[in-house]
């Protein structure tokens, strides 16, 4: 569990290291409840007042990049791949596509059939969004990544219009009817990432 802002600093440090040709990294974490607002976010996409957010213990964090409102909360597994795309493919859409593939393969391991939604980045189960994806790239080194709703309290999403879309969100817990251990997910993801990006991953 790490604050969004602290995790961002860690990512930027890792980006610098990977730029210097050091080992690529996969960061797994959870964030305490936080709404992140990109430059394109408008206040109408937050339905709760500052007071209400305060009472619920939801922080608001403005970030210096595009994208709209995103919610992170405990029970959501966040993965920040810090990969050198120079040695993979210098292709933003191919990278987004591969992250979607990783999430779809992960959900398959839990017998959940997930799919893409044409024109919208992310992964969906029967028209409900389960995985949000947003990436940043500096000198073809990636940061940001995926947020998988594993055991996330879905009520929190009613506070916002996620990504400016009228979507409902779901979680692995909602679909499977039980809590899932994040460590199990991490194990599966390490395997899937190795295959998808042809990496050798040490824990």
């Amino acid at each position: 569990m790490i604050d969004y802002a602290d995790a961002y600093q860690v990512q930027m440090e890792c980006v610098k290291q990977v730029t210097k040709d050091e080992t690529q990294k996969l960061i797994f974490c959870e964030h305490p409840a936080v709404l992140t607002l990109g430059r394109l976010a408008v206040d109408q996409h937050i339905f709760a007042t500052a007071d209400e957010l305060n009472k619920l213990g939801v922080a608001v964090h403005r970030i210096d990049r595009g994208g709209e409102v995103t919610l992170h909360a405990p029970g959501q597994l966040v993965i920040y791949p810090i990969l050198n795309l120079n040695t993979w493919k210098k292709d933003l859409h191919a990278y987004l596509h591969s992250l979607e593939e990783v999430a779809i393969d992960l959900l398959k391991e839990f017998d959940i059939v997930a799919e893409r939604n044409s024109g919208k980045t992310g992964v969906w189960v029967q028209h409900k969004k389960i995985v949000s994806i947003g990436v940043g790239v500096k000198k073809w080194i990636s940061y940001h990544g995926l947020a998988i709703n594993v055991n996330t309290d879905l009520k929190l999403f009613s506070l916002i219009r996620p990504c400016g879309l009228d979507v409902s969100m779901t979680s692995m817990k909602e679909i499977l009817g039980r809590d899932i251990n994040l460590k199990d997910i991490k194990k599966h993801l390490i395997k899937i990432f190795s295959k998808q990006f042809n990496l050798h991953i040490d824990e």
Partner: protein, 76 residues
């Protein structure tokens, strides 16, 4: 005058949107320092200055769409 160009971002990507400038005209910039973020779908791409210099002109505003290969800014 040096040019800051929107580079190739991947197969089939013909344009991107200016998500935010880090520099204003008249500001000094170093080689490899981030100048601008552009967005395509849910990806944000940072473009760094190709040289040391002073920002002369930003040719597009935040929110505008730009074609791959276009000149985004001039650096003196």
């Amino acid at each position: 005058m040096n040019k800051l160009i929107l580079p190739e971002l991947g197969e089939g990507i013909t344009k991107a949107m200016i998500a935010g400038w880090h520099k204003n005209p008249g500001e000094a910039v170093k080689r490899d320092e981030d100048m601008v973020e552009v967005a395509t779908d849910k990806a944000i791409f940072n473009i760094a200055s190709p040289c040391d210099g002073v920002v002369n002109e930003l040719r597009f505003k935040e929110g505008q769409e730009v074609q791959i290969g276009e000149v985004l800014a001039f650096i003196k």
